[in-house]
Symmetry: C2
Subunit: 448 residues, 2 copies
Amino acid sequence: MRKFISTNKWKGSVIHLSPPQVLALGFIAFIFIGAVLLKLPVATTSSISWLDAIFTATSAITVTGLVVVDTGTVYTVFGQIVIMCLIQLGGLGLMTFAVLIVMMLGKKIGLQQRILIQESFNQTSLGGLVRLVKILLIFTLLLESIAFILLSISWVPEFGWREGMYQSLFHTISAYNNAGFSLWSDGLSAYVGDPIVNIVITSLFITGGIGFTVLVDLWSKRNFKRLTLHSKIMIVGTFSINIVAFLLIFVLEYANPATLGSLPLSDKFWGAYFQAVTPRTAGFNSIDIGAMTTPALLLMILLMFIGGGSASTASGIKVTTFIVMVLATITFLRGRSETMVFNRTIKLQTIIKSLAIIVISLSVTFLVLFILTITEKAPFLEILFEVVSAFGTVGLSMGLTPELTAVGKQVIIIMMFIGRIGPLTLAFTLARPKKSPIKYPEEEVFTG
Amino acid sequence: MRKFISTNKWKGSVIHLSPPQVLALGFIAFIFIGAVLLKLPVATTSSISWLDAIFTATSAITVTGLVVVDTGTVYTVFGQIVIMCLIQLGGLGLMTFAVLIVMMLGKKIGLQQRILIQESFNQTSLGGLVRLVKILLIFTLLLESIAFILLSISWVPEFGWREGMYQSLFHTISAYNNAGFSLWSDGLSAYVGDPIVNIVITSLFITGGIGFTVLVDLWSKRNFKRLTLHSKIMIVGTFSINIVAFLLIFVLEYANPATLGSLPLSDKFWGAYFQAVTPRTAGFNSIDIGAMTTPALLLMILLMFIGGGSASTASGIKVTTFIVMVLATITFLRGRSETMVFNRTIKLQTIIKSLAIIVISLSVTFLVLFILTITEKAPFLEILFEVVSAFGTVGLSMGLTPELTAVGKQVIIIMMFIGRIGPLTLAFTLARPKKSPIKYPEEEVFTG
Ligand SMILES: [K+]
Ligand SMILES: [K+]
């Protein structure tokens, strides 16, 4: 079956596009459709610029959550529903929807479509992909329904049926897809100590961000020892990073009067927990991000850069990439040749791939940061935070987004796009694989 | 000969120390001797604290150049000569001096000493090391003499014989060893457009920072094509980085009234050139670093992180490490398995080593930055600049150094030490090589 994917397949088609190129073009198409809809007079309470419409559409389809205009007041319910649709489309992936449409039309899914889905989910085997997408859609619908009901229990008494259910639906979709969009300008700050809101929202975005393959693996095996290496690394990695982040943010913000300082102890715990898990890459906030201490913000920048899991609604370099790099370095320092974890060896190709992802991600981040330090007049930390937030499609901001210059907005739009498509996919699109023509002898180079 | 280096050699010695450990201990010993000498009443015009004395000694022996007190006014000539000696000792490497002492005593150099020198210079073969050290000393003396005479021609007419020659000697030693110490509080700002000072000082620190093995290779081959791969990468890499840095700094600072803005065009060229080559890792400045534009400062942070060449007076991750990483990433993106450059293949082990160096360097920098954002009350960019400057033993500062808290000074002292010893050497010292006991099967992990 695998042999069937020959290069002739692509040579035969009229337009020579690789799967990542099709994926990127799909995102661009939805950005423009979204922007046109958001520019309609019916979508906003007061007129917005084309740039702001494109920014919002990109932020929604890439599930970032950075906002140049206040979602709750500037957009009408129509505009908000457009945003909600873009989030759900972007979060689940264009390809899932392509499959859905094909399935509904009763047609069989062709190999070319499958390769597109494969790229979209970073899956290595084609078999079972269609089944996977079906399960994903059912799972999403089920989880979002439960979350919607739980949030409604909290918000209907507060806002009434209509408004309460609408808020529950919007925040459910935004949270599951790691979009970070909120209808309240201060995010979830009003619910910093509310257990139901905290648990439901974080459960949604952690589930959405850990990667669907991990969830399927957990569901089918129900035994940690029998899980795949990928699932083990994702679960242990996510858990460890969250614990460390929680403890550090709790200590660093404990006495900060602008964030956790004035809150009772239980709210301090919830606030630290929420802000520890949201940077990878949910983007909601329950305290004022811009008022946090510098070391806590630095920690959040690292967390935003790491991001979530492969084949998920999260972006960033991914937890696995981060863990593989750390393990490879420890292996090298211990003078061993093979990187081992959970009684398995990590392929050398995976290590080199991780290295490439990190180098490309750091390069892109540096370049965008460099441009924004030229165009923007804000403090360096605010710019750095904004750039990494866009790269990881996180959506947290110290408050810079609405004050960006036109060039700044354009650059952040491109960065959210790169962050979501994946720096690696983008780079692959730019440079197609070639075979090495000649083999040269090895020679020593001193490094370090 | 190589087989002779058995582990029994170490087991047999009374104190079980590896070469990197001995090297680190040697540096610590000189820091304390230096600090005691600088704390003597005869060394300063007004009393300084032990912490400031240790800071100065560490900054001198690690050839960093960060200063908590003004070298030209707080230290007496005695104190300045102590600093000069520490710079020369640190720059050439403790091990070179150990060999020199052994040679002067007429004794034959033992294998253990040779291994120490090998670690010190990052050399892979033991043969010819003693000869290399001899040439290094002669070369240093020769180059420093020429530079001393040229600078004297410029400064004796200005300051008179005594002062002019003293200034020339101090700045020659400081420049060749990439120390960045100056007797003037504004560095070389008075000579921003002076061709002789610009050419002599930059020639000294570029020569000292490119790596002695490259110079020997150049001297013996005198033909680019016949050079070693290491030399080729160092020369082309250094040249390319300097050109790009020059152009960017020229454009970014052209209209900045606090730096190049008010200068005539020729001075603008010299100023941009000097500031482009000094971050890797000379540390002198001919314009006010703290007044530079944010994008130019960001660029300098990258240059400081990259640093100079292996087996040189420079620190940082090294130009070769940077180039190898970039080449490995390009290779991966092009779908090739072997990283090739100048018709040679770079060993996989070198790529993994480079990866380890970058991961360790980024981790150390992040950790120190994190601590300083807790202890210091300065803008984030100033702290970041200071931390990377200490890591790369560069010595450039936006002005934070004298205002550091006691904890901040202690952390920067440790960082300069780590920067000079080399993150990799330090990590090797902490974690000794072990053999893998079991081989596990490979398993796929999705990254990115
Ligand atoms: K997000
Ligand atoms: K220096």
